[in-house]
Amino acid sequence: MKARYQNRIELLQGTLDMLILQTLQWGPQHGYGISQAIRTNSNETLQVDTGSLYPALHRLERQKLISSDWKVSENNQRVKVYRLTAAGKKHLAAERSRWERLTEAVEGVLNPARKESEA
């Protein structure tokens, strides 16, 4: 059972990690806020599975790419807020350039002749 979950995380891992880091680039945010931000910014296309989000957050924290703090929110609630670390910023930059090269390459493979997509 455990193994299956790990597979799923791995499937999403690189991309989800990048999306989380990118979201935190705009400022510290709590887990719920991150999932909402990704959802909104992707025009509701990307639904972040909490089952992947929290393990990813805790893993990134352990890798010291993000750090966390307990803050009191505007509704007087204690919330755990994550922020990007210097190492996280560097990691995000690397991931972004890798991602751009990947999408370019995939695009090139999918549409070898035309430069314009049908949409």
Partner: protein
């Protein structure tokens, strides 16, 4: 800080998730959903909280720790569930580990603890200064060493030896040291109370009658008197003033817990021991030398410098300083003298015995765990069926073993504390004072921990291996005989129990023999009177007498002592009977018997003065005692014992007038000795010895520097003790005079047997208790295996009497095999002890019958407990299980 560390993180995770849900609900409600709708939708959207928590937890990296924590908790619960088993295992282990911890703490104290000094690594001792034993040099040499070397910030000399502390009946013989003024500065240790003396004492002889007292002496001899500093004390009859008390643990340069009790200035040595002027004589080597290296000076540099000086000394004074050029510089804690090196070997031996005891204990606990593992097979099978990996199971079993081992180790630590404090309360009687200041320091604790963990792994391996080899299906079907292949393991355990019984029987029989021998010793006829007798060993060599002066001293002493009121008779003899001493064993050429041409037989002898036989109460069967006419120049005379008279002549009467010659060394035969008397046989070296040929020569014809004054008193001998000492010391106050009654001498001669009986008895009882636990374990296992069979027998009409007989019979079989093997082994081994046994044969039938009988009885009791449990088997339940 919460414990375990992941507890806090789990609470935080829960809070994080809850806040996530709350925010989701709030957002949904703001979008117009009802509270219930929002709540359930948010939860649905979030997913399986438990699962998400579990996955997230996996990211923390605590997984391994958490598993261990669970194993520990589970193990502790399992151990607490079976308190009887746990207690038994911990007890066994604590004995094994405790014994080893105690042994190690003694080793630690005696061998591993460096002498108390500031920066002990800068301390050095000079060795092999002179040829022969000891690391001594003369005073002029020492002066030259001090002047010729630059490597030492202090080079101190000292002389160790017994001194008489106190006066009258309170006088004690203690180890004292005469030291140069830079002795204490060399160690860099100052007094705990008062002060030490310094180099001012070196300038003038006899001007500083001051003494520094050891902490141990302060406590033992002066009742920890806080006002001791400034008080006068008597040392060898001279008054000294105590100026300081050293801190606990200071013992000069002595290794092995040997602790001098008194330090006096070297310049006071003439007052303490006024013999010859040792200070001016380059050829008399009596000083030990230690030094403190100057900062930055290596031992090799010091060695080079010392070698230069000693080589020069050897060249300039070849006669006085033979072998001086080989002087060596050693660290202070190196053991140099050969008798000292024996002790590490002895301690090594004790350590090996301790290790064997621990191995036995481990084997026993493994045995216990195995029989318990059988009972737990079902539980283990269920855990495996639920998905626990074999590795996890093994880890679980090992964790339990380690828990047991640590508990046993802790209990063992307590035992070791008790054992060592007992040793402190009852220190072994040693010729010089020793400080058994045995404490549990970090080294002992580390040792204890390591031994505990090692034994935990050791005895945990068998059950862990067992746990990993389970066959699931028959287990779950509750087939108690399932998972076959146990036969081999079972017979191994039988073998273990048999050998435990055998080994403990050997120990117990030996202990029994010693105990019997101690009781017999009181009934032995030593052949001489043991009551109303006093002995005083005298050493004229230590006061530097020559033969003329010595003969005069002996004569004066005897004359004065014989005139003392309460004295019946007095005499001198080379050695006191039954103390293991002797006066040599020359080859004896008996006139008329040496024709055979073979080597002469050698017999022991004693050198005795006039009235010896009267004083000792040894009857003469023929002839006369030695008298004052049997002196130098007179015809040589000898008195033989009855056995010798019968061996060479027909008996006492016909031995009279016969002649023998002695061959001491170099094949030179002495002139003829004529037999003038035949004495009744007695015990000579020990009470346990066989009757043997023995002879006496006259002390007036064979001068010896060491003789013992023997006195027969009219009344209670101990009343004459101090008068006798005063009389001897009036003749020469430098003589060390120790008066002992014959009864005390005999008691001292029993000490080895007494110690052996106690130690062997303790080890034997420990082995026995292990064996009993082993028997109990094996029989319990057998009963649990045979529940069905027993049920069947009962269903067919067997009475509980029959069942008892059945089960106990099985245990009895094991015990009897062990007893047989043990008795055979003991018979072979006890012969080695026969020299220590008094009045008991090495194959003493009483011991060899009672000890096995007792052991078997106790073993039957050990079987009886599981046997009774077997009779409680309900046939219906047992049969249904089949």
């Amino acid at each position: 800080m919460k414990f375990p560390p992941w507890r806090r993180r789990e609470e935080e995770l829960e809070e994080e998730i809850q806040s996530h849900l709350r925010m989701a609900v709030r957002d949904r409600m703001q979008r117009g959903e009802s509270a219930e709708e929002a709540e359930s939708a948010a939860r649905r959207e979030f997913g399986n909280v438990g699962l998400i928590k579990e996955t997230t937890r996996g990211m923390w990296g605590f997984r391994a720790l958490e598993t261990i924590w669970q194993d520990l908790g589970y193990g502790a619960r399992m151990l607490l569930k079976q308190p009887g088993f746990t207690l038994m295992a911990i007890l066994t282990l604590s004995l094994g580990i405790g014994a080893n911890t105690a042994i190690f703490s003694v080793v630690n104290t005696l061998l591993l603890r460096p002498p108390l000094a500031a920066q002990p690594e800068q301390m050095a001792q000079l060795d092999k200064l002179a040829q022969g034993i000891g690391n001594h040099t003369s005073f002029p040499n020492y002066r030259d060493l001090v002047e010729g070397t630059q490597s030492f910030s202090a080079l101190a000399a000292f002389d160790s030896g017994p001194v008489n502390l106190g006066q009258g009946d309170a006088m004690r013989r203690v180890l004292g040291e005469s030291v140069t003024g830079n002795y204490f500065p060399a160690f860099g240790v100052s007094a705990a109370l008062g002060r030490t003396f310094g180099t001012e004492t070196d300038h003038e002889f006899g001007a500083y009658p001051v003494a520094v007292v050891s902490h141990g002496a302060w406590q033992r001899r002066f009742g920890a008197d806080p006002g001791l500093v400034g008080k006068p004390i008597m040392l060898n009859g001279q008054q000294f003033t105590v100026i300081g008390i050293m801190p606990e643990g200071f013992r000069g340069a002595w290794p092995l817990g040997i602790a001098p009790e008194i330090w006096t200035p070297l310049t006071m040595r003439k007052q303490l021991k006024p013999v010859a002027d040792l200070f001016g004589d380059r050829g008399v080597h009596w000083l030990s030398v230690i030094g403190r290296l100057k900062p930055g000076v290596s031992q090799a540099q010091a060695q080079a410098e010392v070698s230069l000086v000693t080589r020069r000394l050897a060249e300039s004074y070849p006669k006085e300083n033979r072998g001086h050029e080989n002087a060596k510089v050693y660290p202070i804690d190196k053991l140099n003298e050969i008798p000292m090196r024996v002790i590490p070997v002895f301690m090594g031996l004790v350590t090996v015995i301790g290790g064997l005891v621990l191995l036995l204990a481990c084997a026993n606990v493994a045995n216990l765990l195995l029989s318990r593992a059988v009972l737990r097979r079902q539980e283990v099978a269920i855990r495996m069926a639920l998905g626990a990996g074999r590795r996890r199971l093994i880890r679980q079993v090992l964790t339990e073993s380690l828990l047991l081992a640590l508990a046993g180790g802790a209990a063992g630590c307590l035992l070791a504390v008790c054992a060592t404090s007992l040793l402190r309360l009852f220190p072994p009687p040693t010729p010089v004072s020793m400080e058994f200041n045995i404490t549990l320091d970090y080294r002992v604790l580390c040792f204890n921990l390591v031994v505990s963990l090692l034994s935990g792994v050791l005895f945990g391996l068998a059950p862990a291996w067992h746990a990993s080899k389970l066959d699931l299906v028959p287990m779950l079907k509750d087939d108690r005989r399932g998972a076959g292949g146990r036969a081999a393991g079972f017979s191994l355990r039988n073998l273990l129990v048999i050998s435990q019984v055998a080994v403990s029987l050997v120990f117990l029989i030996c202990a029994g023999l010693f105990t019997r021998s101690l009781r017999q010793a009181n009934n032995i006829d030593p052949g001489f009177e043991t009551e109303r007798a006093l002995t005083v060993p005298l050493d004229l060599e230590s006061v530097g007498y020559d033969e003329t002066r010595g003969r005069l001293f002996y004569r004066q002493l005897l004359e004065q002592v014989e005139r003392m009121p309460g004295v019946q008779s007095a005499t001198l003899a080379k050695f006191v009977l039954s103390q293991g001493e002797g006066a040599g064993s020359p080859d004896v050429a008996v006139e008329g018997y040496d024709a055979s041409g073979a080597d002469y037989p050698s017999f022991r002898l004693n050198v005795v003065g006039p009235r010896y036989f009267e004083t000792m109460g040894i009857p003469l069967l023929a002839g006369r005692e030695f008298n004052s006419q049997d002196s130098e120049g007179a015809p040589l005379v000898v008195i033989v014992n009855e056995t010798m008279a019968r061996r060479f002549w027909q008996g006492p009467q016909s031995a009279m007038g016969r002649r023998i010659r002695l061959e001491e060394r170099g094949n030179v035969l002495s002139p003829y000795y004529e037999v003038v008397g035949v004495a009744k046989d007695s015990k000579y070296r020990s009470l346990g010895e066989e009757t043997q040929p023995f002879f006496y020569v006259s002390a007036l014809q064979d001068y010896r520097q060491q003789m013992a004054l023997h006195v027969r008193t009219v009344g209670e001998p101990s009343l004459l003790r101090s008068a006798l000492r005063d009389r001897a010391m009036a003749l020469d106050k430098d003589l060390i005079v120790e008066v002992a009654t014959m009864r005390e001498n005999l008691a001292a001669s029993f000490l080895p047997a007494r110690v052996a009986a106690v130690v062997l008895g303790l080890v034997g009882l420990f082995g026995l208790s292990l064996a009993l636990v082993g028997i109990y374990g094996v029989i319990s296992y057998a009963v649990s295996q045979r529940t069905g069979e027993i049920g069947l027998r009962m269903a067919l009409g067997a009475e509980s009497r029959d069942i008892l007989r059945l089960v106990i019979g099985q245990g009895l079989k094991l015990t009897l095999i062990g007893v047989g093997a043990g008795a055979t082994l003991a018979l072979a081994l006890s012969r080695l002890l026969s020299r220590l046994l008094i009045g008991v044969s090495a194959a003493d039938p009483v011991t060899f019958l009672t000890v096995p009988l007792l052991l078997t009885t106790v073993a039957i009791f050990a079987c009886w407990i599981p046997a009774r449990r077997a009779t409680k088997v309900d046939p219906m339940i047992a049969l249904r299980r089949e």
